[in-house]
Amino acid sequence: MYDFHNVALTPNQSLLLNIAILSVIVYAVIRSERRIEDSNPLVMIGILAIFGIAGRILLDPLPNFQPVTVIVLLAGIYYGAPRAVALAGIIALTTNFVALGHGPWTLFQIAGWGLVGIAGAVFADYLLKDDQLQLNRLAVLAIISAFAFDWVVSLSILLNADASMLVPYLLNGLLFDLYHAVGNLIFVAWLANPLSDLMLRHKIVPSSRAVNQVATN
């Protein structure tokens, strides 16, 4: 009867709408996290997945600007490589399947983000000193991760193009890599601290340190 949903939004309006929705989700998730008592990291993985999925889909109008790389990197630092890779898989598969388009590249995206998560886990001790996130180092790694992720995903063109096309393809994509890198810098600068507070509360205590803690008690 009434066609109230037939409203045409300009791209800018829909981007603003998406950012508003994302803010509501982030705010609601942060509020609800305070009530999670147990320190089960899988709950946090779920929360991070919601962040990543919502962020990637809603920020899609901005080229290559999404929080997933930084989230997976943080997950690697706090929760280790396996959980970070799982998170990468969940986010890539869900976002591609629901909204952005699923295909062979999904596997390359999972590999790319998985690699970012593994890097986070490998450099965890370097990036996290006395539970204090070293933001400058994280920013550098996040910028490198942007390029590494994009180049891993670019390898998917080898499925239907020959190797000589790879270098021109990568060169053509360099601007999008830069968007990704600057986006990561933004997320590290503005999101890493609140997110890491959240994650620290549900951090897994590695068994070796856990014994230590028990001993001090």
Partner: protein, 185 residues
């Protein structure tokens, strides 16, 4: 320690937004690769145009077009510059990335539009078709000596061979290449 990270990230965004167009053009030029196959009518043209229709104009070196002074400038159908092939045998410009054109004159008109009218032409309508008098405001006799016994004209090539018909009668297929260059007699 990380106090400056937030302002730095904002500055980085602003710088990137300001620089994006020039970075894009520079990368595009850097990434352009050209067909290297003397048998192909696309020889010397960007590989990304392999399946598209292309319109080229070559000026004689001695009277280069004011804008196209060296090599062959490759212009996309949207008017953006793809790059300049300095290895190309000649000086001028090509406009490519077109598809679906069946008539030579239609392609030429749209290519001239894409070039921002740098390739604007003058023509005379004859009963047998259109004769091109000047392209890019250059007339053949500006470049070559024209007398009673000699002259110069804009010659049309279709896929590398001299066209048998005038521009308004050329029937195009996909990936065809039209080229004008000045010839003397």
């Amino acid at each position: 320690m990380s106090n400056y990270l937030k302002p730095l990230s904002v500055v980085a965004v602003i710088v990137l937004i300001l620089l994006a167009p020039s970075i894009r053009d520079a990368l595009k030029e850097e990434a352009a690769t050209y067909v290297n196959d003397s048998e192909s009518s696309h020889n010397g043209l960007p590989e990304s145009w392999n399946n598209s229709q292309v319109f080229c104009v070559l000026f004689l070196d001695q009277v280069s077009h004011p804008k196209f002074t060296s090599g062959v400038t490759m212009i996309e159908s949207d008017g953006s510059i793809l790059g300049t092939n300095s290895e190309y045998n000649g000086t001028g410009a090509c406009v490519g990335g077109f598809s679906g054109y069946e008539n030579g004159l239609d392609l030429m008109n749209d290519a001239v539009n894409s070039s921002g009218n740098d390739l604007v032409y003058n023509s005379t309508e004859f009963s047998f078709g259109l004769q091109i008098d000047s392209i890019g405001n250059i007339e053949p006799c500006d470049v070559a000596e024209c007398s009673d016994s000699s002259g110069a004209y804009w010659a049309l090539y279709h896929n590398g061979g001299a066209s048998m018909v005038g521009i308004s009668d050329v029937i195009l297929e996909e990936a065809d290449v039209l080229l004008w260059q000045i010839e003397t007699w």
